[in-house]
């Protein structure tokens, strides 16, 4: 097990280094005005002086090594156009907490609603009218089929009317958090419910469930420690990714409620051609995906004893 985990972590680290190199090398191909706020008014000489000062005239490998050194110290560099001379870490530190807070709340909500809904749906497939299953399927199909922009708008429009709160987000008024959280979690609720139901129905038709029933295990316990336990395995891999991605904020929902989060930041800095900011944000997004996959794999290995054996050892 430990060996498997170490191997996975090593793979992830290598992937991350390669990604950093590629992003760095690509951004060096961008026009150099992206490093200056007032490029048009600068003389050729002063541009060269600044470039030398920033180390941008060094050979590429030297620059990359330098950048890795910076990263190890937790320094992402400074912004040049978005907020000139301001450390990028500080810019992110101001915006991230709100996205993280909303992301975590909405994730908790989607797990707390999505998983029970999936269980109810799966269990109701064995009943006569399958009411929960039908209700849940309608909900899932609507959420999956209707473009999210449409229901986000509807939620904002009618939700604010029903709750009697402002359409816009206000950090100090918790009531205004309700609608964005709802908007952020509704997709995940449908996702978790759909897959959990599907895996649970799959599992409950398996032979070992029949054997457990033949053993005389009560239905509730079969559902919990046999069906659910096995059905959650494939979902576990997805959960870390979705945690990390909700932390990155949602562009659409954040702009809809004008939440000062991470959501639109990347697009904003791309428009501004702020090279160092783009570089830093792309790196963060890449790191988040790599970490999400890594944690997904590690959690799978924790919940499924077969995983760490899938190497050369195999089953006897």
């Amino acid at each position: 097990m430990a060996k498997y985990m170490l191997k996975r972590i090593l793979h992830a680290a290598i992937t991350l280094c390669v990604v950093i190199c590629i992003v760095f090398a690509l951004l060096r191909q961008m026009p150099i005005e992206g490093y200056f706020n007032n490029f048009d008014k600068m003389t050729e000489a002063s541009i060269q002086v600044s470039l030398n000062k920033m180390g941008l005239n060094d050979p590429l490998p030297v620059q990359i090594l330098h950048y890795f050194g910076q990263l190890l110290k937790g320094d992402l560099g400074v912004s040049n156009r978005y907020r000139q001379g301001y450390p990028i870490v500080k810019i992110i530190a101001q915006k991230a907490p709100i996205s993280i807070k909303l992301g975590l709340i909405s994730l908790a909500v989607s797990l707390a609603v999505g998983l029970p809904l999936g269980i109810l749906m799966a269990r109701s497939t064995r009943t006569r009218w399958k009411l929960w299953d039908k209700f849940g399927t309608v909900f899932i199909v609507i959420v999956q089929a209707v473009p999210s922009a449409v229901y986000h708008l509807l939620i904002q429009l009618y939700g604010s009317e029903i709750l009697g709160v402002s359409m816009l987000f206000n950090d100090r008024n918790p009531m205004t958090w309700v609608l964005p959280v709802f908007s952020l979690s509704i997709g995940n609720i449908a996702y978790y419910a759909m897959w959990l139901r599907r895996y649970m129905v799959d599992e409950s038709n398996k032979d070992y469930i029949r054997l457990a029933r033949a053993k005389g295990v009560p239905a509730g316990k079969i559902s919990r420690s046999h069906v659910f336990r096995n059905a959650i395995v494939p979902l576990v891999q997805y959960i870390p990714q979705s945690i990390l991605f909700t932390l990155m904020g949602s562009l659409y929902v954040e702009s809809l409620y004008s939440i000062p989060g991470m959501g639109g930041l990347l697009i904003q800095v791309i428009k501004l051609q702020d090279n160092t900011m783009v570089q830093a944000l792309v790196l963060i997004y890449a790191a988040v995906s790599v970490l999400g996959l890594l944690f997904g794999d590690l959690m799978m290995a924790l919940v499924d004893p077969r995983i760490s054996f899938t190497g050369k050892e195999g089953a006897r």
Binding site: R126, T127, R128, K206, D207, Y208, R210, L211, A212, R213, A214, K215, G216, V217, P218, A219, S225, H226, R229, N230, V233, V303, D304, P305, R306, F309, A315, R316
Partner: protein
């Protein structure tokens, strides 16, 4: 035979499934007695209702099926009347346990072997903590798994197919049942392991005074383990008798056909016998003898009226009009006549001339 104690008695059991508004008549009036301590084998081709029948005994059929009429008498109760899960749970495992066909899929892949056996021990032997663990070690050793302490903490994927089937048997034994149902216990195993597993089940039967019901379509297994045989066709038992009676003196044309298709009876150089046609569609009502359309010896009567069970001996009965005194004399196929002759010589069956002999 008749002084033997009837343990479980099924009387005229009808079982139906509802599938997308259509009704499938899976069991059509089955009657069968199971005697205490015997090994009964239920044979028949796929879809003949063998599995549905034994699942009825444990209430394990899917929710879209229900007992329409008939009785399953066991231990003073009529299982056909059972509705709730709680009623069945008093019986499942505790009185009747089951070994499933495929050991590769019948264990939970995420739980250790020990956990899965222990679950049964805790439910049925009312042991907990270290006592339960000790009981699991004992059972593991009993079914021939060495080094139980280490094996306890291993997962199913660390066991081979034969070893897993031993674990499944261990789970059944942990329940301390009275009846053990083996649903094709060796079909998924290779031949060398088959004999071991059958031997193990026999050993357990002797040790715990079990009554076993085998489901199989492997007549080799039947000959190896069974005291009595019930032949099923299209949701009905067409012939039932002691092992040697059914093998050496079969009376139903379906049993003839089944035995004729045994490769062991084939003549070298000639193609193997196979039964023409397919079993009837049980979504439709079956008229007369269900086997009649595939039966080259079918009588006119077979298409009109369903034959009753005719008694051949006290232990042997078959559901065919051929046994009616009015029926014309029809010679069974050559293979069967040879078998009958052999049985007579071996003194396994009585040499009496019968209505259709």
């Amino acid at each position: 035979m008749d002084q033997q104690q009837v343990l479980l008695s099924v009387q005229d059991l009808n079982f139906k499934f509802t599938l997308r508004g259509q009704v499938l008549h899976a069991l059509r009036g089955i009657s069968l007695d199971v005697y205490k301590g015997e090994s009964l084998a239920i044979v028949g081709e796929s879809g003949s209702g063998k599995s549905v029948f034994v699942k009825c005994l444990m209430g394990l059929n899917d929710a879209n099926g229900c007992v329409e009429s008939g009785k399953i008498l066991y231990d003073g109760k009529d299982l056909a009347q059972f509705k709730s899960d709680a009623e069945w749970r008093a019986l499942r495992g505790h009185r009747i346990a089951m070994v499933l066909q495929d050991p590769m899929t019948s264990l939970n892949p995420l739980k250790t072997i020990g956990w899965q056996i222990r679950e049964a021990v805790e439910l049925h032997q009312n042991l907990h903590g270290d006592a339960a663990k000790k009981a699991v070690y004992e059972i593991l050793a009993e079914v021939g798994i060495s080094d139980p302490q280490r094996r306890y903490n291993q997962y199913p994927h660390e066991f081979s197919g034969g070893m897993r089937q031993r674990v499944v048997i261990a789970i059944a034994m942990a329940c301390k049942p009275e009846i053990l149902i083996c649903d094709e216990p060796t079909t998924a195993l290779d031949v060398t392991i088959q004999a071991q597993i059958l031997g193990l089940i026999k050993e357990m039967q002797k040790k715990y005074d079990l009554t076993t019901i085998y489901i199989t379509h492997d007549l080799g297994v039947v000959a190896n383990v069974a005291d009595r045989i019930a032949v099923m066709y299209a949701g009905d038992i067409v012939e039932v008798g002691r092992c040697e009676e059914v093998f050496y003196d079969p009376r139903h044309p379906y049993t003839w056909a089944l035995l004729s298709s045994l490769p062991q009876l084939g003549v070298k150089g000639e193609p193997l016998y196979s039964i023409e046609g397919t079993p009837p569609n049980l979504f439709h009502e079956v008229r007369g003898d269900a086997f009649a359309p595939r039966n080259p010896h079918a009588l006119k009567m077979d298409f009109v009226k369903r034959p009753p069970m005719f008694t051949v001996t006290a232990t042997h009965a078959a559901r065919t009009w051929l046994l009616d005194p009015r029926a014309p004399k029809i010679d069974p196929p050559e293979h069967i006549r040879a078998l009958r002759e052999k049985g007579r010589q071996l003194g396994l069956t009585k040499g009496e001339e019968c209505a259709n002999g």
